[in-house]
């Protein structure tokens, strides 16, 4: 992504330049401009660039080709390849074909002049791309005589080809070919001929032959024909198919499947009749997908079978069918079965009940649940009650369930149903029950689909290690699903990882962390690369985060962790992990290390000290979470929105403080606290805060003059500068000597003043009030006359980068 942005930026610039000199360029200039814009990022840029290149063909093509170097070390021909391929595509578009001949000529001339074999190959291929499309010649058909001979003596696949050839050559004899194939004992051949005849002549033309010959066919061929009749849904053959169901064996199986596909009332009753037979399962499968309404037939059959009471298989399958297709008309039968003396039937009905319950059944099922004994019955009635309420709005579901609970003797039976409502009230009720000692309530909290359950689960895991295995997986999945703030998500998963005491739990937490694409989650996951149980999940996490994050990650950590991850993947010996290694290689290829900043020779001579050279913040203290060294800069990251301050470890009196800064987004706000104590607002309680602000952002249109960048905040306004574009670096120097302060940005002095004179000696209001008439912001600045203090960065949010921070300590000298 970063690469694209920089190319886009470059493109925008070059297009702007190009617009000024459109029609007067030489071919060389056109070529240079086009190449500078390669590859085009969208179709309109593409059309502009390629239109230019084509307009100057053939010479432009020769010029581009001449720039290509022979393949070898360090040779980069990509932009020329983009340009040549692009122009070929462009003139190939029927809308731009006028220049096709010139581009072709250019490619021919260029190929003639080219000595490198690979470049020549490209130029030749591109010429071919400009050619006319000629459909590939059809393979010559085998002569009929040859096919006839092959049909007699060939191997199976040759006979297939021979039969196809003959059916194409002599369509009038095709039915004979099919008829004789059906008599063959070669299953491959039979099915091949059937399939190809269907493709050539249509299914309908084969029906008379297949139905009239069916009876005389060998059993194995009957199976093929039945399959065929089903696949082609030949409803006129329904009688044959339905009759074949009674045949038994493979024929019956094929007939049942075919009857299901063909459909019709006769098939439905035939198949329902088979539900108690040898191929009951096959009939059930066919009926599950049977088109049309069969619920009355199913209910009638079930009633009959129950009355007879003998055919348990049929009853089981009928109930499965009614359950699968949610036949509500069967519900009364199911309730009657629950009350049956026959324990088997009662159990069957209880197991299936949840498929048939609706809102009208809530009270009835609630009663059954309250009275239920044994884990299976309780769970069945819980499912049935969940199904009965599930179409209601959650609040209504909760009120129904809590109503049932108030009247219930076995309250615990209702907890899982309560959990299924997913309401805040349900979470609160279950939390209460858990606090009153119900472990069942805690178990139900792991099933509730509500983020409010997460903190309760975490607390339970932290309070008692024996809860970890039960609740931590759900805590992780809730955080993973519901937490939208990436940093909070990372922090929660960090807590989960701290508790995770098994490989599975670590894997789950790291798996969730893999979808949190931030620098901090990268660093967190990286810590687990050395943990044997967690290494594989950690490797996946660092790879995923590295490939997705838009945040910068310290190059050394980046390289170190990804290299470790690659080794983990290599170590598995699993071929699929090879892909991961390749992905990591690509990510690392695209990353760039930084060079630490250094003092200039002159600074060294003067005695400057490096406070931050890009590698670490060892000379700093304070909010080391919000300010992080990343690839040579101090980075205030977008996702943590820190408002904390970063302080030098040492205190200073007089000094020259130099640093570089750049803004990553509009309206960045920060500042340098001068002679500040820790933990105060430097604008008032330090000597001063020198403003760092992207005051060019539209949101600051109404800024006071003493708030612009470089101002001694509220005391001495700075000369207003125009900031460099986002992403470009500026230099700044702040020189503090006694009461004097001088601020220089990009070599320009924008403040040079004396704080004491600026407020006429009154840093606070002489009358002790909050309004100070002597300062430009009319505020009190009690810290203004501090003699010494720390130097700080006073954060107000994300988007600032700072680098190359150094100081010349002038001590007490004036």
């Amino acid at each position: 992504m970063k690469k694209i942005y920089s190319i886009l930026l470059f493109l925008a610039l070059s297009v702007a330049v190009y617009a000024q000199d459109a029609r007067q360029r030489t071919v060389q200039t056109i070529v240079a401009d086009v190449l500078a814009a390669m590859p085009a990022q969208n179709s309109s840029d593409f059309a502009t660039q390629m239109g230019d290149l084509a307009s100057a063909a053939p010479q432009s093509i020769v010029e581009v080709a001449k720039l290509m170097k022979p393949a070898g070390e360090g040779v980069k021909n990509a932009i020329y390849e983009y340009a040549l391929q692009g122009v070929v595509s462009f003139v190939n578009d029927p809308a731009h074909s006028a220049k096709k001949a010139d581009v072709l000529k250019g490619l021919q001339d260029a190929a003639a002049a080219c000595s490198d074999p690979y470049n020549k190959e490209l130029l030749t291929t591109l010429q071919r791309m400009l050619g006319n499309y000629v459909a590939p010649a059809a393979e010559p058909e085998m002569p009929v005589k040859e096919a006839q001979a092959l049909l007699k003596s060939g191997k199976t696949h040759e006979k297939c080809l021979a039969a196809l050839t003959l059916m194409k050559a002599q369509p009038e004899k095709a039915l004979k070919t099919v008829a004789s194939a059906l008599k063959s004992d070669d299953k491959i051949f039979r099915n091949s001929v059937l399939g190809n005849a269907t493709k050539l002549f249509g299914a309908a033309s084969l029906v008379p032959l297949l139905t009239s010959k069916f009876k005389k066919l060998a059993p194995d061929a009957k199976v093929d024909v039945l399959n065929w009749l089903g696949n082609n849904k030949i409803s006129s053959a329904a009688n044959i198919v339905n009759a074949a169901v009674g045949n038994g064996g493979e024929i019956a199986k094929a007939a049942i499947a075919a009857a299901g596909k063909i459909g019709g009332a006769a098939a439905a009753s035939t198949l329902i009749g088979q539900l108690g037979g040898e191929f009951g399962q096959e009939a059930l499968t066919a009926l599950k997908s049977f088109k049309g309404d069969i619920k009355d037939e199913v209910a009638a059959a079930l009633t009959d079978k129950l009355a007879a009471g003998t055919d348990k298989t049929a009853i089981t399958n009928l109930l499965s069918l009614a359950s699968a297709r949610k036949m509500k008309n069967v519900a009364p039968i199911v309730y009657s079965m629950i009350g049956s003396q026959d324990k088997g039937l009662a159990q069957m009905a209880e197991d299936a009940l949840s498929n048939f319950t609706g809102t009208g059944d809530i009270a009835k099922v609630g009663g059954l649940l309250d009275a239920a004994k044994g884990a299976t019955a309780i769970s069945n009635y819980q499912d049935a009650l969940k199904a009965a309420i599930h179409t209601l709005a959650p609040a209504e579901q909760y009120s129904k369930v809590s109503g049932l609970i108030k009247a219930a003797k076995n309250v615990v039976n209702f907890y899982p149903v309560l959990a299924s409502t997913g309401t805040d009230e349900a979470v609160a009720d279950l939390e209460n029950a858990y606090n009153n000692g119900s472990s069942a309530a805690l178990a139900c909290l792991t099933n509730v689909n509500n983020f409010k359950a997460a903190p309760i689960l975490l607390k339970a895991a932290q309070a008692n290690p024996s809860n970890i295995a039960g609740v931590l997986p759900r805590f992780i999945s809730l955080v993973s699903e519901y937490e939208t703030n990436l940093d909070k998500k990372r922090a929660s998963l960090g807590e989960a990882l701290a508790l995770a005491n098994t490989k599975d739990l670590k894997t789950a937490a790291l798996g969730a962390l893999a979808n949190v694409p931030t620098m901090k989650s990268f660093l967190l996951a990286g810590k687990y690369l050395d943990d044997k149980d967690a290494a594989y999940a950690a490797a996946n996490a660092v790879k995923n985060i590295a490939s997705k994050t838009k945040e910068e990650i310290n190059y050394n950590d980046f390289k170190n962790f990804l290299t470790k991850a690659a080794n983990v993947f290599k170590g598995t010996g699993n071929a699929d992990d090879g892909y991961a290694v390749s992905e990591i290689d690509q990510i690392l290829d695209a990353a760039e290390p930084f060079t630490p900043s250094q003092l200039t020779a002159e600074e060294k001579k003067q005695g400057f000290e490096m406070l931050f050279d890009g590698t670490n913040l060892d000379k700093w203290q304070g909010d080391l979470e919000g300010y992080i060294p990343v690839n040579g800069t101090i980075y205030v990251s977008a996702n943590y929105g820190s408002t904390g301050n970063l302080y030098t470890k040492k205190e200073y009196r007089n000094f020259v403080y130099r640093f570089e800064f750049c803004f990553l987004r509009e309206g960045v706000n920060n500042g340098v606290g001068v002679r500040t104590p820790m933990g105060v607002d430097a604008a008032y309680d330090a000597m001063c805060e020198v403003q760092i602000l992207d005051h060019d952002a539209p949101m600051y249109a109404n800024l006071r003059e003493y708030q612009v960048h470089g101002s001694v905040y509220g005391v001495i306004p700075a000369k207003r500068i125009v900031h460099k574009p986002l992403g470009e670096w500026s230099t700044e120097e702040i020189r503090v000597e006694g009461d004097r302060i001088k601020v220089t940005v990009n070599g320009e002095v924008i403040v040079d003043g004396n704080i004491r004179t600026a407020c006429k000696g009154h840093n606070v209001a002489p009358d002790g009030s909050d309004t100070n008439p002597y300062t430009v912001d009319h505020r009190n600045h009690p810290g203004m006359f501090n003699k010494k203090g720390y130097i700080s960065f006073c954060g107000h949010g994300e988007g600032l980068k700072i680098r190359n921070v150094r100081i010349l300590d002038l001590g007490d000298k004036k």
Binding site: P39, E73, A78
Partner: protein
């Protein structure tokens, strides 16, 4: 010469008596004679071409009583040695090994040819396997060009082979962002509750992320070919380009000569089930539009979106790198309803409605049963070629960088020579399909 599975099947029709006269050595050649005896009529044999990545995966480098792995082939001696060693360890069998895939295809002990090479080989190998009377198990994407796909369909029909393409979301497993199998979606679409035409959005936001690390690298510096690799035979029909490790093995997808990057890798996984639930197994889009940076002639790059439009107005939109979607993105959008990631639907209690509908028509989902019964597998050469053609239409439009119009009947672009040249791309001699 040993007898092949296909001859067994043929003879099986003669009744049990025919089996008892088969020579014992037939079985012996198929694998370890110490393992349990299996009736030959129930046992098939398989050979894998390409034992680098997917061919060695736990899914495929298997051998059991129903189907024995008997042969492996690779142009990289290291892959081959590894496969032989693993074969010995896992199956206690010395596998027959081949350097040239044609030898494996012509091995009479092999019934099923499993093609697990980079996709520039798939078409050629499948056609040759059909020509020798083998059944075929082919990794996705089915073929690198539309023309090669047509040839595979032709050959499979001509020689009576059973063909299975190896992706499976049209008939089993949780279908990515949907959180269910594709079946309930098929029922919902068929019910008409969402209206018609439908737009399907395949994007990270709907639970179908594209793997853009399968991009190629430009400016590759030529490297010496490792001694274990027969680079010429690895390239086969592809143009000769200087060797670089990134071209081959696990990163080959990044080069147009062999595949089409993330689109080729995931496209058929994602698009094939869509063709199924839209009922378009015999249909293809009439238009394909792309929004992407210009592509390099060799290295596959990224793309922001690819939009397919069918004649009836249905659309499939692939949303890729840098695509800016606003708000919640529906996976399926119809005039009367939308389905989001995780099967969230604008139709209230939609699962209740779906549950009352009949299941989709049952399909053949056991490949070995298909081989035995000579029935088409659920994902076969026909519907596989169609969904692969959707993928390949996208790569044609990407390479040309413009909108293309397609004739689904003729399977050709309309009045567009440049695009049609990508349908039947020339092969490097002596290879031809």
């Amino acid at each position: 010469m040993a007898q092949s599975r296909r001859d067994f099947i043929k003879k099986a029709g003669l009744g049990l008596g025919a089996l008892t006269i088969l020579p014992r050595e037939v079985f012996g050649k198929m694998g370890d004679s110490s393992s349990k005896f299996v009736a030959p009529s129930d046992q098939m044999t398989r050979g894998i071409i390409g034992v680098g990545g997917i061919g060695m995966s736990n899914l495929h480098f298997v051998s059991d009583e129903r189907c024995r792995l008997v042969a492996v082939c690779d142009v990289d001696q290291k892959h081959l040695d590894n496969a032989l060693q693993k074969g010995e360890e896992r199956f206690g069998t010395k596998l027959q090994s081949y350097h040239d895939w044609r030898d494996l295809v012509h091995d009479p002990n092999v019934d099923i040819v499993h093609i697990a090479t980079p996709s520039h080989w798939h078409g050629l190998m499948a056609v040759e396997a059909a020509k020798t009377g083998k059944d075929i198990f082919c990794e996705k994407p089915m073929t690198r060009t539309i023309g090669e796909g047509k040839k595979v369909v032709e050959a499979v029909n001509k020689y009576g082979s059973i063909f299975r393409l190896d992706t499976w979301f049209r008939f089993k497993d949780t279908f990515y962002g949907l959180g269910t199998t594709v079946e309930p979606l098929k029922k919902l679409v068929d019910s008409g509750l969402l209206g018609w035409p439908l737009t399907v959005r395949i994007s990270g936001a709907t639970g179908f992320a594209w793997k853009f690390y399968w991009t190629g690298r430009e400016n590759l510096e030529p490297q010496p070919v490792p001694k274990e690799l027969d680079y010429d035979l690895w390239l086969g029909p592809a143009p000769v380009k200087p060797y670089h490790p990134h071209r081959v093995h696990q990163s080959f997808r990044g080069y147009w000569d062999y595949e089409s990057g993330g689109l080729g890798d995931m496209g058929q996984h994602y698009i094939d089930p869509v063709q199924y639930f839209l009922g378009k197994d015999n249909d293809l889009p009439v238009k394909v539009e792309v929004d992407a940076p210009q592509q390099h002639p060799d290295a596959v790059g990224i793309w922001r979106s690819i939009t397919y439009t069918y004649a009836d107005g249905c659309k499939i939109i692939l949303e890729g790198e840098g695509f800016e979607s606003s708000g919640k993105v529906p996976y399926i959008e119809g005039p009367k309803g939308k389905v989001y990631k995780g099967f969230e639907c604008t139709i209230p209690n939609v699962m209740d409605v779906i549950n009352e509908l009949p299941d989709p028509e049952p399909r053949q989902v056991d490949f070995l049963d298909c081989v035995k019964n000579r029935q088409k597998f659920a994902l076969n050469e026909e519907n596989g070629h169609h969904s692969c053609t959707v993928v390949n239409l996208g790569s044609c439009a990407l390479r040309l960088g413009r909108t293309l119009h397609f004739d689904p009947e003729k399977q050709l672009f309309i009045n567009d020579d440049a695009a049609n040249l990508l349908i039947n791309q020339p092969m490097r001699g002596p290879w031809s399909i």
